[in-house]
């Protein structure tokens, strides 16, 4: 099994090679995509290959070569658009802070678009509409960054970035969580209170024993 990631229109040659130690009398090798057989196969010494010209997303998918001997052996190639890398875990930010989300891909897409979920509808984040809230910058050809300023509780939710390639689209979802400042502050204050109680106890004890000593 092989994964092949393609971004732009290219010609691809896929070949299946048989191990010469495998003595198969009359090997029958067919190339299939789904259920349809591909006819233009080229045969070499011990390998069978096909040439594919890929110009749009309709030609993407999985292609397999099947060897019919005593048993059926299959090898599959998956052709797909490049996957996007981004943060898997939810991004935790605080109110009035800035959130940064970065999407990265292996090849250069034609465009990047950011979406957010409002209610049940995806909404495109249009920078020009909210210039003081969202900042989209293209850090490099393969990397895009969304910055959300002045966070509020309503900004929490699912965001995703979509990359458009010649051969299709690819996207990645991320979750944003917005906490209020009080959230970690509560345990902190609890601990500080405990510390103060301990300190006062110890100081009182020392003062008491000093007075007793005198």
């Amino acid at each position: 099994e092989r994964n092949i990631s393609l971004a732009n229109a290219t010609t691809v040659e896929l070949s299946c090679k048989l191990d010469p130690n495998f003595h198969l009398r009359n090997p029958q090798v067919t190339w299939k995509r789904g259920n349809e057989t591909i006819s233009h196969t080229t045969k070499a010494e011990n390998s069978w290959s096909i040439k594919l010209v890929i110009v749009d997303s309709s030609k993407m998918g999985s292609y397999s070569c099947i060897v019919k001997g005593d048993e059926e052996i299959r090898a599959t190639f998956y052709l797909h658009v490049p996957k996007i890398e981004a943060r898997e875990k939810p991004i935790i930010t605080y109110e009035k802070d800035t959130a940064v989300m970065v999407c990265k891909s292996d090849s250069t897409p034609m465009t990047w678009t950011w979406y957010m979920m409002r209610g049940n509808n995806p909404v495109i984040i249009n920078e020009s509409l909210w210039t003081d809230k969202y900042l989209i910058s293209r850090l490099s050809a393969n990397v895009t960054r969304l910055r959300i300023l002045k966070l509020t509780k309503e900004d929490a939710g699912v965001y995703w970035c979509e990359a458009v390639f010649q051969l299709g689209e690819s996207e990645r979802k991320m979750e944003l969580k917005v906490l209020s400042i009080m959230a970690p502050l509560k345990p902190f204050i609890a601990i500080v209170a405990e510390v103060i109680i301990l300190v006062t106890t110890i100081i009182l004890y020392e003062v008491y024993s000093k007075r007793k000593g005198k």
Binding site: R87, K89, I92, T93, Y94, V100, L179, A183, P184, L185, P187, F188, I191, V192, E194, V195, L198, V199, T201, I202, I203, E206
Partner: protein, 484 residues
Amino acid sequence: GWAWAVVLHFFLVNVLVMGMLKTFGIFFVAFREEVGGSSEQVSWIGSIMSSLRFLGAPLVSIVCRGLGERPTSLLGAGLVAGGCLVSTQATSVPFLCISMGLLLGLGFSCLYQAAAVMTAKRCRARLGFSNALARSGMGLTFLMAPFTQLLLDFYGWQGTLLIFGGIMLNLVPSSLLLRPISTRHSSAKTQGCESPMAQKDPETPDGGLDGTTDRELHPHKAQELPTTERLLMSHGKDVSDPTNPSALGKLEKPTPDRSSPETATGAKRSNKPLSATKKETPQPLLDLSPLKDPVFFIFTWSFLFSHLAYFVPFFHLVARARTLGMSSMDGSYLISVAGITEMLSQLLSGWVADQNWTKKYHFHVTYLVLSGLTNLLGPLATTFPLLLAYTVAFSVSCGGFMALVLPVLVDLVGVEKLHSYLGFAAFFAGIAAIGGPPLAGWLYDYTQTYACSFLLAGACALLSPLSFCLEPWAQRWKLKRARL
């Protein structure tokens, strides 16, 4: 009595300091993602933090001698908590380097030094066991890792640092437990800690008890007493005669029934060395005398190499397990087995050392040699059971010698000068600690196998006890120099 409070504080220090250092790896990932900066830059924070812990030691020993242990410890706790809190506002890696690396590193070294010396001062008889007990705190640090991860998932790195700052603040009340020793208290305290020995003479009252226990202990430990203390003893004898009447007045618990001069001078003699210490040694704050002392070199040489030998195998144990084809679950299982075995062997070794069957450093040497041999045989371990056996053997010997580091130093130089010795020794050890992991990493890159790091660790572990062979000569040399 209060000695156990000090051990508790040292235990807490170990847990929190070591926990912070070890969980830094988890923060590392969070920092890289959120604050930005390359892997190398972020790891600088961690290395500044852990190296300052050692390198700051001479500076801290000066502060400790100037201010006393308790204020230094409070200062350390304040630095650590403050550093954590300031770091929550961090926006860039250099900022974090200073706020987290510098402040926390200095704070840790303050805390550690003060706690270690205080433990040595408080519990002279059972130093081995109490040191081991406190060090077992390091074993609990493995709990901190999942806890930190949980906090990070809930509150993000800023919230986690805030809460950590609060947890570190807990070191403030525990530092308050480090009550300073005054001369009056110390005679009663040494009594408390040495009571197992003193129980042989239940009839003598308190004042006499000081004298008799001292007289019992000093011939018994005549070999072990460093020359400095013996000098003070003889000095004390000279001083006691002219100040006879004032000394009697100084006795806190006068001997009402036994007014015999014997017990009185005995009690005076126990008080005298302590007050004579105060008169005779108005040591300058920056005490460079350790650098002129051969015993110091012996100790530092061994300390340096044993530290190198200690860290490297742990770093590479999991990686080696992986290269031999074991899953990472097995690898972490090995690490936890190592941690628990080490904890147990520390306690055992501390207890054994306290029984005083032989000089403490003989044990130290034995453990080091064992660990060296284990490491040299380490590359032979290629299956999981063998690797497990290696891990157990290695952690037993490591725990053994780690527990004895402080008692051995105390035996060699005595408690009065402990600060400066420990400070400088830690400084040199810090240099080794900075160089150790990168050196091991370079070895791996060069030889493409982890076997070499184990061989290196074994070689270091065997090199370090060599210096102890020179110890008897060094003591004789010191005596000769003192007599001149």
